[in-house]
C-alpha cells in the first residue's frame, strides 16, 4: 500500500515551513488547464483554488464499513494535535439536506432526480462548508464523497460519463481512503446498529431480490465493483475495513500524519470515545 504514496491527484497543499514536501501534483491526462489539479474536470464558478490552505481528506466505503467511527476518532486525534477540523457528509447541506430525506421517505423520486438532488447537496456543501474551511487552513474530513454518488448512479443505469461529468467541478481530495469490507460483514454491522436494514441501503428500489439480505448483498456488491474501477483511477488508499477499529485508525493516522506533517501518531481515545475503540 505505501507504494501508492505518490498520489497523482493530490493538489500541492501549502505546508507549514520545515515540514515534508507535499506530494507532487501531476497534470491529469486531459489537463488543458492548471485547474485540473484542483478539480476533476471543470473549474468551479467564482472560486480561486490557490486560496486553499487546508487539507481535504475523504473516507469512502459502503454502509457498515466503519467510516463514521473512524471520522469521530480522527477528529479527536487531529484536534488534540492542534488542527481545526470540519466534517462533511451526504445530505448535510442547509440547501437540500432535509429535502432529500423527505424524497427518500416518500420514495416517489426517480433515479435521475435523486442523483441531481444529491449533486446539489454535494456542491452546496463544497461551496458553503468545505471551501470556506479549506481557505482557513482547516482539515476537512469528508464522510463519503463523489465516488459513492457516482457509484450509486451508475449501478442504477445512469451513464458513467454523465455521472463523472456531473462532478467535474468537484475538488480533488488530498487523500482518499477506501474502507473496504465484504457486503456480508457490512450487513451484520448495519443490522446491529438499527436492528433493521433500510430500504435504500438494501437497494430495494432496484428490485434485486425480495429477500432483504440478498438485496443488500447484491446491491452493495455492485457498488463495490464500481469502487474497484474508481480505486485505480483516483488513487484510493485501500484499507481493510474488517480489521479492528484501532488497527484501521492507526493506518489512517499514519497516512494523514504524513500529509499534514505531524511527527507523532500516538493516540488513545478519550473516555467519551472509548466505546468506539472496542
Amino acid at each position: 500500500m505505501p507504494d501508492q504514496e505518490k498520489d497523482k491527484t493530490a493538489p500541492p497543499a501549502p505546508v507549514p515551513d520545515g515540514q515534508p514536501a507535499p506530494p507532487k501534483a501531476l497534470a491529469a491526462p486531459v489537463a488543458e488547464e492548471a485547474s485540473s489539479q484542483y478539480f476533476f474536470g471543470e473549474p468551479l464558478v467564482g472560486f480561486d483554488p490557490s486560496e486553499i490552505t487546508g487539507s481535504l481528506i475523504v473516507i469512502e466505503g459502503m454502509d457498515g464499513s466503519g467510516r463514521s467511527t473512524q471520522i469521530a476518532l480522527l477528529q479527536e486525534w487531529l484536534e488534540s494535535e492542534g488542527f481545526a477540523v470540519q466534517t462533511s457528509g451526504l445530505r448535510r447541506s442547509n440547501l437540500v439536506g432535509r429535502d432529500i430525506d423527505e424524497l427518500l421517505a416518500k420514495n416517489a423520486v426517480t433515479r435521475l432526480t435523486l442523483a441531481l438532488m444529491y449533486a446539489t447537496d454535494f456542491f452546496d456543501q463544497i461551496e458553503h462548508r468545505i471551501l470556506p474551511a479549506l481557505r482557513s487552513g482547516t482539515v476537512v474530513l469528508a464522510d463519503r464523497f463523489i465516488f459513492t454518488l457516482i457509484a450509486r448512479g451508475v449501478v442504477r443505469g445512469i451513464n458513467r460519463d454523465y455521472m463523472s461529468g456531473l462532478y467535474a467541478m468537484a475538488l480533488r481530495p488530498h487523500l482518499t481512503f477506501w474502507l473496504n469490507v465484504r457486503p456480508e460483514t457490512a450487513f451484520g454491522r448495519e443490522f446491529k446498529k438499527a436492528q433493521a436494514i433500510s430500504y435504500w441501503e438494501a437497494g430495494r428500489d432496484m428490485s434485486l431480490s425480495h429477500d432483504l439480505y440478498w438485496s443488500f448483498v447484491r446491491y452493495q456488491t455492485m457498488i463495490k465493483r464500481e469502487f474497484e474501477v474508481m480505486a485505480k483511477r483516483h488513487n484510493f488508499i485501500e484499507l481493510d475495513g474488517e480489521a479492528s477499529v484501532s488497527a484501521v485508525n492507526k493506518q489512517l493516522r499514519q497516512r494523514i500524519a504524513e500529509q499534514l506533517g505531524i511527527r507523532a501518531t500516538k493516540y488513545t481515545p478519550s473516555t467519551a470515545l472509548a466505546h468506539l475503540w472496542r
Binding site: G41, L95, T120, G165, A168
Partner: protein
C-alpha cells in the same frame, strides 16, 4: 417562412424496449411516437403568451397534449423556494436544482407522455438553463452534459425581442424584480432594474449563440400577437403531423 414538407413520423410497430432511455444519453425525437414543442426566449419576449395561444388552439381542436412549465416540479419546489429566499444559491447549485426539477418532470411526465403518443408543449426547456446558467458563469460543457438526458425537441421556437423592448415589458409590468430573477447574485449592479438589464443582455447573447447549433426557429417577438400566433400555428402544422394527436374517439370509429 417554413415551406418544407410536413415531417411525417412513421408510427412505430414495436415500441422501444424501455420507457426511459438510458439517462445521460440524448434522446432523439425518433425514439418515441409523441412530439415535443418548446418555446424559448428572454423574459418579456412574448413566448409564454404565444405558447398559451398555441395550447388553446390545440385544446379546442381536441388534440392530446400536455403542457409543462420550467421550474414547476412539486418535488423540488420547497428546496428552490428556500434557496431563493435565503439566497443560498450559487451559480452551481442554482443550476443543479433546476436540473433536478427538470429531471423530475422529464422522467415522470415528459418522457412517459412522449412514449404515450402525446404532444408535449414546454414553456422553457434546457436552452433556458444553457443561456441563464452560462450567463452566470457555469462552464457550457458541464451544462451540456448536465442535460444530456433530455429529449431533443421537434420544434424549438425562439422568440427574439430587442433587449429594450423585452426589458421594458417586464419593468413596466412588475412592481419588484426578485433577487435571482434580476441577476443580483452576479453583483453587476446594486440597482435591480439595471442588474436585470445587464443580466438579460448576457442571456440574450447566449441564446443567440444557440440559434444555429440547436436549430432554433426564430420568431420576431415584436410582431402583433395574432400575426405571430398565425406564424407559429403554420409552422407547427407544417412540421408536425397533427392528425396523429387528434381525438381518440375518431380513431376508434
Amino acid at each position: 417562412m417554413e415551406n418544407q414538407e410536413p415531417v411525417q413520423k412513421q408510427p412505430r410497430v414495436e415500441p422501444p424496449k424501455s420507457t426511459l432511455p438510458q439517462p445521460g444519453r440524448p434522446v432523439p425525437s425518433r425514439a418515441y411516437p409523441g412530439a415535443l414543442i418548446v418555446v424559448e426566449g428572454t423574459d418579456g419576449s412574448g413566448k409564454s403568451t404565444q405558447l398559451y395561444l398555441l395550447k388553446r388552439w390545440l385544446e379546442i381542436g381536441g388534440y392530446r397534449l400536455h403542457f409543462t412549465e420550467w421550474n414547476s416540479s412539486p418535488l423540488v419546489k420547497s428546496a428552490t423556494r428556500r434557496g431563493k429566499q435565503r439566497r443560498l444559491l450559487t451559480p452551481t447549485t442554482f443550476s443543479l436544482l433546476h436540473a433536478a426539477d427538470f429531471a423530475d418532470r422529464c422522467e415522470r411526465q415528459i418522457m412517459p407522455l412522449l412514449q404515450g403518443d402525446y404532444l408535449v408543449l414546454a414553456d422553457r426547456y434546457i436552452y433556458t438553463a444553457f443561456a441563464r446558467d452560462a450567463a452566470r458563469g457555469c462552464p457550457p460543457r458541464w451544462l451540456r452534459n448536465l442535460y444530456r438526458f433530455a429529449p431533443v425537441p421537434d420544434i424549438t421556437f425562439y422568440f427574439r425581442a430587442p433587449l429594450d423592448v423585452a426589458v421594458n415589458r417586464i419593468l413596466s409590468g412588475r412592481p419588484k424584480l426578485k433577487y435571482y430573477e434580476a441577476g443580483m447574485d452576479l453583483g453587476m449592479s446594486y440597482d435591480r432594474a439595471e442588474s436585470f438589464r445587464l443580466f438579460q443582455a448576457r442571456i440574450l447573447e447566449e441564446y443567440d449563440k444557440m440559434v444555429d447549433s440547436d436549430g432554433f426557429v426564430v420568431l420576431d417577438g415584436t410582431m402583433p400577437v395574432n400575426k405571430l400566433q398565425k406564424q407559429m400555428r403554420d409552422i407547427v402544422a407544417s412540421k408536425i403531423d397533427l392528425k396523429r394527436f387528434a381525438p381518440r374517439a375518431q380513431e376508434s370509429e
